[in-house]
Each structure stands twice: as structure tokens, then as C-alpha cells.
């Protein structure tokens, strides 16, 4: 193995692991724990920027680790999302320093989880995939319990870790079936064995459970609302955006390469689950009063749209899904950012508290409106094009009924997103949330998603770039 080659292909992973070690040492070395926040954000900012330049492509460790331009793009999308979350959560971590006595731990766990996702989406065999998915979820359980003196935070962590353990157990059983039928765990070598054989079918379905749980597809969605509500908001947005995005990335890689021969099988499964997920997520979202629960159910419904795009199995479908996930990350982080800023200042999380918010905090209200419009898919913001490409790919494969259902769901979702907008802009309130100013980090964390929402919506070369990389990958 050529060493320079190794450093070029696996640079992102090595740098992130190094950042984790630096933070561990910083915790020992410094007395002023607030400096660790700046250090972590600074290091990760550099890591994110350099991620866009010159990361190599190729295969390492006999096929266990694969890097291609599209996989590197996936990692960059996740990096940007995590960076926004870091900016948004900085003041929370600093503000709760006395209460928590945990600063570097927050960043180490977050980065360790992200490192797991890197290995998961770069995996060339089931061993690395499984280690990656475990590494992506275990630290998050620790993060969900970060507010350990609040009962609901501890409860969220327990629920998450139990259900994650059960689903990854089922997933592992499925992998063992695939192995016993084929004698290999490498994706490439498994491909010729993917037939309608019943053991392969059962194994593959079991295997899917673990990933569908992470994307919170109905019927594996029950943990979402409770965990999202109980966990600290930064962790919630991490779960709903980064964790979901990474799982969707590896799902689409596996479906479009290894499982391509049994497309007829997974198409039916994904078709049914997509409809179920959209309807159940949306119908439950209608009734929510707590903003975190509300965004949790809306993110379940969005997950239904994500898997809808995978149905076509073509280059168009994969590009549409990748683009949609990118827009979803920015839109959802915009919405979560505003909820975060409000909760930081006033501790309020309910939709009724937002009444009359526009009069006191116009800028935040406008950002929230933008993010919600993007989630709903109103032009010209990014979410519209995300949904448009998704529907186009489904139409190209002839799924007209599904598109009809999806459009019904878009309408339902528009209704409840507008409920929030109405609360902020139209409703009167005798004592609205007072005007407040956020610190610099929070401001950056709110501006970045706003820029993302506009740029992805108005600057078309980004989609073409994604399409080109996907084309190279699928060839």
C-alpha cells in the first residue's frame, strides 16, 4: 500500500480522528473550558473547508474502504451540516458550562459519531458498514443524555440506545444470512449472489431494518418524537439531519450498486413504506404543539420523500435524492436554528409562545418562514427544486399514483408549516417573546442555512455537479 495514496484517500477520517485526540489533550491542558468551544469550532471549520479540495479517490484495505468523488461529496455535505450545528450550539454549550461540567465531551462524541458515518458511507463490506453504523449511533446516545439532570434527556438516551440496539441486532442477523448464502461480506462480491433466493431476500430485508430505523421510516419511527423532544436541541438537529442524511446516503449506495439485481423486490418495499411514512408523519405533525415534536414528525414525513426518489433506480433518481438531502439539511437546520435561538433565550418551545414573534424579532421570523417554505417546497427556495427533481425521477419510472399521494402530502405539510408562520406573523400576543440578540456564533449558524437555501435554489450548476458525480459513480 502506497502511503501517500493512503493519506490522500483517507484524509478526512485521519484529520477528524486527529481533531478528536487534540480535543482530548486540550481538555487536560486548559483550565478555561470555554476556549475548547472556540478550538473545536475552529478546527472543524478548517477541516470542512479543506474537505472540498484534493481528497483522493480509490480503494484501500483490500476493498474495505472506498472513496469516490460522490462519497467525498456526501462527506462534505455532512461536514457543512455539522459545522452549522456547531455554530448554533456554541452558546448553549458555553452557557450551561457550570451546570454540565462537560465541554470537550460534547465535541468528541459529536465528531466520533461523524467519523463513524464517514466509515459507514465509505464501507466496501458489511464489517466496516456495521462498525460505522454502531460508531455513528452509540456516541449520540451519550449526547442525548447530555442534559443528564433532566429526566426526559436521560429517557431519550435510553429509548434511543435500546431501539438502536434491537434494530442493529436484526440488521446483523440479516447480514449473517447474506453471508451464509454467499460466503462473502464484500458488497462487490455479493452482487452476483443477489437473486430471488428466499434466504437472500429475507437477509436483505432484515438488513434494511437497521438503516430504515436511522432514517426513521414508518414502522421504525416510534422513537423519533420522544427522543427528539427529550434530547438537547443541538443533538436533535444532529439526529434529524446528519444522522438521517448519512443513513440515506449509504442506503442509496447499497440499493443502487449491490442490490441492483433485486430491484423489483426493494422497489415494492420502498414504495409501500414511502406512502406510509409520508402520511403518518404528516398526520401526526398536524397535532403537535411542541416545536421539537412538530419538527420531529415533519422530518419523518420528509424521510418518506427521501426514499421516494430512490424508486426509479436511475442516475436521475440518485441525483435527485442527493440534492434533496442537501436542501433538507439546510432547511431543517434553519428551522432548528431559530427554535434553538428562542429556547436559549427564553426557554420556550411551544408553538403558542411564538405568537406575535414577528413584531419583536423580525429577522428570525423571516428566516423561520424561509426554512419552513423550503421544507414545504414553495418556489423559489431550495426545497421546491428538491421536491421537483424527486417527483420528476419518480415520474420517469412511471409512479404516477405515488406522485399523487406525495402531492397530497405536500399540501398537508404546507398547511401545518403555515400554522407556524401564522403564529409568528398574524397572531397577536399580549406578552410576546421579547426582542433579543444572539451571539456571533449563533448568527453565523443562522446565516449559513439561509445562504444555503437560496444558493441551492437559484444556482443550478450545483445540481449539475451532483448529477455528473453520480453519473461517474454509477458507470
Amino acid at each position: 500500500m502506497d502511503l501517500s495514496n493512503f493519506f490522500s484517500i483517507m484524509r478526512g477520517e485521519i484529520v477528524l480522528a486527529a481533531i478528536i485526540l487534540i480535543l482530548l489533550l486540550a481538555e487536560i491542558a486548559t483550565k478555561d473550558k470555554k476556549k475548547i468551544v472556540d478550538l473545536a469550532i475552529g478546527l472543524f471549520l478548517i477541516h470542512t473547508i479543506f474537505g472540498f479540495f484534493g481528497v483522493g479517490e480509490g480503494v484501500l484495505f483490500g476493498g474495505m474502504f472506498k472513496a469516490s468523488p460522490i462519497v467525498n461529496l456526501f462527506k462534505n455535505i455532512l461536514n457543512v451540516g455539522v459545522l452549522i450545528i456547531l455554530f448554533q450550539s456554541a452558546s448553549w454549550v458555553k452557557g450551561k458550562l457550570e451546570e454540565h461540567n462537560r465541554v470537550s465531551e460534547f465535541y468528541i462524541l459529536l465528531f466520533a459519531s461523524l467519523l463513524g458515518m464517514y466509515y459507514m458511507i465509505s464501507a466496501g463490506d458489511f464489517l466496516m458498514f456495521y462498525i460505522g453504523i454502531e460508531m455513528a449511533s452509540l456516541p449520540v446516545a451519550g449526547l442525548a443524555a447530555f442534559d443528564i439532570y433532566q429526566k426526559r434527556s436521560a429517557e431519550a438516551a435510553l429509548k434511543y440506545i435500546f431501539l438502536a440496539a434491537i434494530t442493529s441486532g436484526i440488521s446483523l442477523l440479516g447480514i449473517s444470512f447474506l453471508y451464509s448464502a454467499s460466503g462473502t461480506i464484500f458488497f462487490d462480491e455479493l452482487k452476483p449472489f443477489m437473486t430471488n433466493d428466499s434466504l437472500i431476500t429475507l437477509g436483505f430485508l432484515f438488513f434494511l431494518v437497521g438503516l430504515l430505523f436511522k432514517i426513521s421510516i414508518v414502522p421504525f419511527h416510534l422513537w423519533t418524537a420522544d427522543v427528539y423532544e427529550g434530547a438537547p436541541i443541538g443533538v436533535t438537529s444532529y439526529l434529524s439531519v446528519i444522522s438521517k442524511g448519512a443513513a440515506a446516503f449509504i442506503l442509496i449506495i447499497i440499493l443502487f450498486t449491490m442490490a441492483k439485481p433485486i430491484m423489483e423486490l426493494w422497489r415494492e418495499v420502498i414504495y409501500m413504506l414511502s406512502i406510509l411514512t409520508m402520511f403518518i408523519g404528516n398526520i401526526f405533525a398536524l397535532r403537535q404543539k411542541n416545536m421539537k415534536r412538530f419538527l420531529a414528525f415533519s422530518s419523518i414525513a420528509q424521510a418518506g420523500f427521501i426514499i421516494l426518489g430512490m424508486l426509479s433506480g436511475t442516475q436521475l433518481g440518485m441525483s435527485a435524492v442527493v440534492f434533496f438531502i442537501a436542501t433538507y439539511i439546510f432547511s431543517n437546520l434553519g428551522a432548528f436554528g431559530v427554535v434553538y435561538a428562542i429556547a436559549n433565550q427564553s426557554g420556550k418551545e411551544n408553538m403558542d409562545d411564538y405568537n406575535g414573534f414577528y413584531r419583536t424579532n423580525p429577522l428570525l421570523s423571516v428566516l423561520m418562514m424561509l426554512a419552513l417554505f423550503s421544507l414545504a417546497g414553495i418556489p423559489p427556495v431550495a426545497g421546491f427544486f428538491g421536491k421537483f427533481f424527486l417527483f420528476m425521477s419518480a415520474a420517469s419510472a412511471g409512479y404516477y399514483w405515488l406522485i399523487l399521494f406525495a402531492v397530497i402530502n405536500v399540501t398537508i405539510s404546507l398547511y401545518y408549516y403555515l400554522l407556524v408562520v401564522r403564529a409568528m406573523f398574524v397572531r397577536q400576543n399580549d406578552n410576546p417573546i421579547p426582542a433579543f440578540k444572539s451571539d456571533v456564533y449563533m448568527k453565523i449558524g443562522l446565516i449559513l442555512p439561509a445562504i444555503g437555501i437560496f444558493v441551492l435554489g437559484l444556482y443550478s450548476p450545483i445540481y449539475e455537479h451532483i448529477n455528473e458525480l453520480v453519473g461517474m459513480f454509477l458507470k
Binding site: G62, R102, E105, I108, Y119, I131, I148
Partner: protein
């Protein structure tokens, strides 16, 4: 023939004690039942002459994990108490789903034409050690290193849960 008889004895032990472990209403007893399951599994590895794996199974699972569970159980309050029984409705539904799931899985497994493995699984420890440090096709150095980061992260997550408040 002898191996076959041993297999059936061990398999019976595994099935019976697995069932007892999940149905027992006392935590401590469930742990002990689990210990028997793990020991019998090690026996299966011995039958197929995979001594290294059997050793690992005994040391890590039967020795380490069970001891850890026992400690955790001892530290929790009210270990003697019975866990509440689920309602009848829950029992029936869960039972039906389990039977259906097991039925599908077993019928698929019985219907599959398994091929006998040609790989030499009775490898000695030296080859296994070499594979752990090998970065080629059959090497496991990458998973080995990544798991070490996973363990580090798990320890830190445990610290997050256990750490006290800030004191000057």
C-alpha cells in the same frame, strides 16, 4: 455421531435457557440463564474445532460480559423484586408476532440449500494474529483500529452520563 449427539444436547441447552432468560421475571436469574446460553455456544465452536473462537466466547462473553451484567444488576436497587408482567393482550400479540417471525425465518433456513464451506476455519492463533495486522484483502487492521475509536467514544459517553456537576 458423537459430535451430532453433542450438537443436539448443546442446541437444546441454548434454546431452553434462551427462553428462560427472556421469560424470567427476576433480573439475577435471567443473567444466570444467559450465562448457560453463552457457555453452550462456546461448546458449539469446540465441536467444529474452532478453538480460538471458543476461547474468545468463554473469556469475553461468559467471563467478561456476564460478570459485568452481574455487577450492574448488583448496583441497581431492588434486585430481588419481580419485574412487572406485561398485560395479557401484550403477551398474546408479542407471542403471535414472535411465532410468525420465527416461523418465516425457520422455514426459509430449512428450505435453503447450504453449501459446505471450503474455508479452513480451524485456523491457529498465529494466522489470526497475522490477519489482524494485515492491510490486504483478508486483513482486519482497519476494522481493528476503527473499533478502538468506537471504544474510546463509548467510554467518553459513559463519562458524560456518570460525571458530577462542576465544583470549584
Amino acid at each position: 455421531m458423537g459430535a451430532q449427539i453433542m450438537f443436539y444436547i448443546l442446541a437444546t441447552v441454548i434454546v431452553v435457557f434462551s427462553f428462560l432468560a427472556v421469560t424470567s421475571r427476576k433480573v439475577m436469574r435471567a443473567t444466570v440463564y444467559l450465562l448457560f446460553v453463552l457457555l453452550a455456544t462456546a461448546g458449539l465452536y469446540f465441536i467444529i474445532d474452532y478453538n480460538f473462537m471458543a476461547g474468545i466466547q468463554l473469556i469475553v462473553y461468559a467471563g467478561g460480559i456476564v460478570a459485568l451484567i452481574v455487577f450492574a444488576v448488583m448496583l441497581t436497587e431492588k434486585i430481588g423484586d419481580k419485574i412487572e408482567s406485561p398485560s395479557n393482550m401484550q403477551m398474546i400479540l408479542a407471542g403471535l408476532i414472535s411465532i410468525a417471525g420465527a416461523g418465516v425465518t425457520i422455514s426459509v433456513l430449512l428450505g435453503h440449500d447450504f453449501k459446505q464451506s471450503t474455508q479452513n476455519i480451524g485456523q491457529n492463533v498465529a494466522t489470526i494474529g497475522e490477519n489482524l495486522l494485515n492491510y490486504g484483502k483478508d486483513g482486519y487492521v482497519l476494522p481493528f483500529e476503527v473499533v478502538s475509536i468506537l471504544l474510546l467514544a463509548s467510554m467518553i459517553a459513559a463519562i458524560v452520563v456518570a460525571k458530577r456537576k462542576f465544583e470549584n
